[in-house]
C-alpha cells in the first residue's frame, strides 16, 4: 500500500467528514451549564450510590442493591440466552456458508453457500438496537423481543466469521482423511472443524463480552437492563446511582474479558500432560496424567448452568401478553410497514419509487451521508490516538530491555503504559451508546459527543490490537537501532511501524465497519443522522418510514462490510495478515 496516498486520503476524508457533520472545534468546549453538569457528574464518580439517592425510595420493599442486582442479572441473562441462540445460528450458518463443508462444488451448492453468507451479512447489518425497535414495535415489550433482537445480528456475525475461520487454511489432516477413504463429512469433522474449534470458541467468547454490552444498551429502548437504569437515573438527576451502574457494568465486562482471555489461552495452548514418575506408564496412569484444566471444566459447567438458568428462570417470555394479542400486534405492524402511498393505492407498489425519492430528498440522503462520515471521522480519530498510543503502550518498547537491548529508566515508561492500557480497557468496556449518552450531557447537543464516544471505544480496541502487533513483530532492525544509541521512539518510527503498517491498517478497516454499524444508531440520541430519523419515525408510529431508515442503515453497513472485507482480503494477500480476535 502506498502510505503517502493512504494518509492523504484519510486526512482528506477526515476534514470532509468534519465539514459535512458541522463539527466545529469550538463545540468541544462545554457551555457554562455543561461544565457545571460535567463537574457534578464527574464528582459523583468518587461516591457511587449504595442506596437510592431519593430518600423516599429508601423505605421501599426492594433495596437499591436488589434493583442493581436485578438489572445486572437481566443484562447477563438476555446476553447469555441470546448468545446460546446465536451460537446455534452461527454454527449452522457458519458450516453451511463455508467452502470446507461442501466437498463438491456445483452451481446449486455454491449458490446455497453464497446465499447463506449473504443472509448472515444481512442479519448483522441491522444493529441490535434497530432489531429491538422492530421487535418492540411488532410484538411489544417482552424478554423474548430482547433476546431475539440480540440473537439475530449476533447469529449473523457468528455465522459469517465461523465460515471464514473454517475456510482459513484447510488443514492437510482433512485431506489425509479424505484421501485415505474417509467421507467428506468425516474429513470436515476431524480435520477441519476440530482444528478450527479453539478459534471458534475464542470468537464466541469475545462475542459474549460484546453481547453483555449490547444487552445493557437495549435498556435505552425500554428493555429493563442496566442501560434502562442508567437512563432513568440520569433523567432523575441521580448521578451517584449512574456511577454505581456504570461500575457494575465495567466490572462485569472486564471480568468476562479476563475470563475469556484465560479460556482462550487454555484452549489454544492446551495443558501439558503431567510427567509420570514412579507411577509407571499403565494406560490408566497415563490417562490420569493427561493435560486437563479444572478452570476450563468449571467454566464450561458454569456457562451451561447460567445459560440454562437464563432460559428456565423466565416464566413470562411473552411478558404476559396473550398469543392472540401478540398476533394482532404483529398483524398491525406488518400492515403498517408497507409504505403508506402503497397502502392507500390498494397495494400498488408503483407508488413506492415516488415515496422513496421524496423521503430521500426530505433528509434521508443527507442522514445517510452524515452517518457514513460519523463512522469514518470517528475511526480515523481512534486510529490516530491508537497509533500514537501504541508507541507508549507496547510492552516490548517500555521494558528495561526494549527489543532485547538494555536501556533502563523505565519508571515513567511503565507508568504511561499502565495508564494507557487501563484507559484502553475502560474505553473498550464501555458501550459506545452509553458513552455517547453521557458525553452529550457534558458537551450539549453536538456531533462531537458521538464522534468521541465512537473514537474512545474503538481507540481502546485499536490500541490493544496495535500493541499486540508491535509486541509480536520480529524486527531485528529495531534492536540494531537501539543498540546503536537510538531511542525507543526512533526504533518504533523507523522499523516497527513501517514493518507492521499493513496489519495496523487492516485493524482500522476491521473497526471501521463496526463504527459505521454503530453510527447508524447513535443518532437516536438526538443528533441528526439515520438513527435520529428512526427514532423520530418510531415516536410518530410511522412504521413504514422507520423500516425504510432501518433498511437504509443496513444497506450502509452492508456496503461498509463488503468494502472492508475486500480491503482486508487485499491487505492479507500483501502482508499475510491474520484475522484479529
Amino acid at each position: 500500500m502506498r502510505r503517502r496516498w493512504f494518509f492523504l486520503a484519510a486526512f482528506s476524508l477526515f476534514l470532509l467528514g468534519l465539514w459535512v457533520l458541522g463539527a466545529r472545534l469550538g463545540d468541544l468546549i462545554p457551555s457554562e451549564s455543561g461544565r457545571k453538569a460535567a463537574a457534578e457528574f464527574l464528582g459523583a464518580a468518587l461516591h457511587p450510590a449504595m442506596d437510592f439517592e431519593n430518600p423516599e425510595m429508601q423505605d421501599r420493599e426492594h433495596s437499591f442493591i436488589e434493583k442493581l442486582g436485578r438489572a445486572l442479572w437481566l443484562t447477563l441473562r438476555y446476553a447469555l440466552a441470546a448468545m446460546s441462540l446465536a451460537l446455534l445460528m452461527g454454527m449452522v450458518g457458519g458450516v453451511l456458508g463455508s467452502r470446507a463443508w461442501w466437498s463438491r462444488s456445483t452451481v446449486f451448492l455454491e449458490s446455497l453457500r453464497v446465499g447463506v453468507r449473504l443472509l448472515a451479512t444481512a442479519l448483522r447489518s441491522v444493529h441490535e438496537v434497530m432489531w429491538a425497535l422492530l421487535f418492540l414495535s411488532a410484538i411489544g415489550t417482552s424478554p423474548l423481543a430482547a433476546v431475539c433482537a440480540l440473537a439475530l445480528p449476533y447469529g449473523g456475525t457468528l455465522a459469517k466469521v465461523f465460515s471464514e475461520l473454517l475456510d482459513e487454511g484447510e488443514s492437510s489432516a482433512a485431506e489425509v482423511i479424505r484421501v485415505t477413504g474417509g467421507s467428506g463429512f468425516a474429513a470436515f469433522l476431524a480435520g477441519g472443524f476440530t482444528r478450527a474449534l479453539p478459534d471458534l470458541a475464542t470468537y464466541a467468547l469475545y462475542r459474549l463480552e460484546c453481547a453483555i454490552r449490547s444487552s445493557a444498551v437495549l435498556g435505552f429502548v425500554g428493555i429493563p437492563t442496566l442501560g434502562y437504569e442508567i437512563k432513568t437515573a440520569y433523567e432523575d438527576g441521580h448521578y451517584r446511582e449512574i456511577w454505581t451502574y456504570l461500575y457494575v457494568l465495567l466490572i462485569g465486562v472486564v471480568f468476562f474479558e479476563w475470563w475469556g482471555a484465560r479460556v482462550r489461552s487454555l484452549l489454544t495452548r492446551g495443558v501439558a500432560a503431567r510427567e509420570l514418575g514412579e507411577e509407571g506408564s499403565s494406560l490408566k496412569a497415563l490417562w490420569r496424567a493427561r493435560g486437563r484444566s479444572w478452570f476450563l471444566r468449571v467454566s464450561l459447567l458454569l456457562l451451561l448452568l447460567t445459560v440454562s438458568g437464563a432460559w428456565l428462570v423466565e416464566d413470562q417470555w411473552g411478558a404476559g401478553v396473550s398469543w392472540e394479542q401478540r398476533m394482532k400486534n404483529l398483524d398491525r405492524f406488518t400492515g403498517e410497514i408497507v409504505p403508506h402511498p402503497v397502502r392507500e393505492a390498494g397495494g400498488d407498489w408503483g407508488e413506492f419509487s415516488g415515496w422513496l425519492a421524496a423521503k430521500m430528498a426530505d433528509g434521508g440522503a443527507e442522514a445517510l451521508w452524515r452517518t457514513f462520515h460519523l463512522g469514518t471521522v470517528a475511526i480515523l480519530l481512534a486510529g490516530v490516538v491508537a497509533l500514537v498510543g501504541v508507541r507508549f503502550a507496547a510492552r516490548s518498547l517500555v521494558s528495561s530491555h526494549p527489543r532485547g537491548v538494555r536501556e533502563g529508566g523505565v519508571f515513567w515508561q511503565k507508568s504511561w503504559a499502565l495508564a494507557l492500557r487501563a484507559g484502553a480497557m475502560l474505553g473498550r468496556a464501555m458501550p459506545e451508546y452509553i458513552l455517547a449518552f453521557l458525553l452529550l450531557r457534558i458537551f450539549g447537543p453536538t456531533v462531537w459527543a458521538l464522534i468521541l464516544a465512537l473514537a474512545i471505544h474503538n481507540g481502546g480496541i485499536l490500541l490493544r490490537l496495535g500493541a499486540e502487533v508491535i509486541d509480536n513483530t520480529p524486527s531485528r532492525a529495531s534492536s540494531v537501532i537501539l543498540a546503536q544509541g537510538g531511542t525507543r521512539t526512533s526504533a518504533f518510527l523507523l522499523t516497527l511501524l513501517p514493518f507492521s503498517f499493513n496489519r495496523l491498517v487492516l485493524f482500522l478497516f476491521y473497526r471501521w465497519e463496526s463504527c459505521i454499524r454503530e453510527a447508524t444508531v447513535l443518532g437516536m440520541l438526538g443528533v441528526a443522522s439515520l438513527g435520529f430519523l428512526i427514532s423520530d419515525a418510531k415516536v410518530a408510529f410511522y412504521y413504514d418510514e422507520m423500516l425504510l431508515w432501518v433498511a437504509l442503515g443496513a444497506f450502509l453497513v452492508f456496503l461498509g462490510d463488503i468494502s472492508s472485507d475486500l480491503v482486508r482480503a487485499k491487505l492479507r494477500e500483501n502482508g499475510s495478515v491474520k484475522r484479529p480476535s
Binding site: A173, V179, T180, A190, A273
Partner: protein, 244 residues
C-alpha cells in the same frame, strides 16, 4: 499391486510426469528419489487417486483408478495410507484421537465422532500398543502440538499403521529432521511395514537412506523415471547425481 501404463500428468500446460511405466508388487519397499520438482510427489499423488493422470492409466490391483468414484473409490483408498510431508495431524487433538483418524474410512462418521469424544477402552489399548511399537506410548494422551517434531512424525506413522493398509505412501516424511532422526524414522517405517508385509512407497532426498533401507530405488528427474532397480544394482554415482 500398483501399475502405471504410459502415465503422463500436466498441471496447467506444464508437464509434471511423462511416459511413466511402473509395476509395484505387494510387499515391496520402494524409494522414490530425485531432486525437487522431479515428479516424486506427483507420482505418489497418482497412486492414491489424489491426482488424475492426463495420459495413460494407473491401476490398483487391476482396477483403473480413474474409473473409480464415490463409495468404491473410498473403499479402495481405505487400503492405502498416506503420510504427507507436513504430516497432516490435527495439532489441537490428542495423540490417540489423531491416530484414531486413521480408521475414519471404516468407522464412518458416528464411529469417528465417538472416537474423538469418548474413545472406548478397547480402542485406547489398541492405539497404545501401536504407539509402543513406534516408541511413544507414554504420549498417548498428549496434545500433538506439545510433542517434538520427531514424535509428531511417529504419530503420523502410527496413524498410517492403524489404518491397516496394504500400501503406505509417504511423501518426504523426514525432510525436516536431522540425519540421525531421519535414519531412525525410516528404519522404523520400513521395519514395521516389513513385519506386516505392507507395500511401502516413500519419497526421499537422502541417497544413503535409500540405499540402506529399501529393496528398490526409483530415480526420477524432470518427470521421468531414469533408473529403477535394487540399490546395489543402481550405480552409486548415478544416485548422487540425482541428489545434486
Amino acid at each position: 499391486m500398483l501399475e502405471f501404463q504410459s502415465v503422463g500428468l500436466s498441471y496447467g500446460g506444464v508437464k509434471a510426469l511423462s511416459g511413466v511405466n511402473l509395476l509395484i508388487q505387494p510387499g515391496e519397499q520402494v524409494c522414490l528419489i530425485g531432486p525437487s520438482g522431479a515428479g516424486k510427489s506427483s507420482l505418489l499423488g497418482l497412486m492414491n487417486g489424489r491426482l488424475l493422470a492426463s495420459e495413460g492409466e494407473v491401476l490398483l490391483n487391476g482396477e483403473k483408478l480413474a474409473e473409480l468414484s464415490g463409495k468404491r473409490l473410498r473403499e479402495r483408498r481405505a487400503g492405502i495410507a498416506w503420510v504427507p510431508q507436513d504430516l497432516g495431524l490435527v495439532a489441537n487433538l490428542r495423540v490417540n484421537q489423531n491416530v484414531a483418524c486413521g480408521l475414519a474410512a471404516r468407522k464412518g462418521l458416528l464411529g469417528l465422532l465417538r472416537s474423538l469424544l469418548v474413545m472406548g477402552r478397547g480402542e485406547k489399548k489398541e492405539i497404545a500398543n501401536l504407539l509402543r511399537r513406534v516408541g511413544i506410548e507414554e504420549k498417548i494422551f498428549s496434545r500433538v502440538d506439545h510433542l517434538s517434531g520427531g514424535q509428531q512424525q511417529r504419530v503420523a506413522i502410527a496413524r498410517a499403521l492403524y489404518q491397516e493398509p496394504q500400501i503406505i505412501l509417504a511423501d518426504e516424511p523426514v525432510s525436516a529432521v536431522d540425519p540421525e532422526r531421519a535414519k531412525s524414522l525410516v528404519h522404523l517405517l520400513t521395519s514395521l511395514a516389513g513385519e506386516e508385509g505392507q507395500t511401502l512407497v516413500m519419497s526421499l532426498h537422502d541417497v544413503s537412506l535409500a540405499r540402506r533401507y529399501f529393496d528398490r530405488v526409483i530415480g526420477m528427474r524432470e518427470g521421468r523415471i531414469i533408473m529403477d532397480g535394487k540399490p546395489d544394482e543402481v550405480g552409486l554415482e548415478d544416485l548422487y547425481r540425482l541428489d545434486e
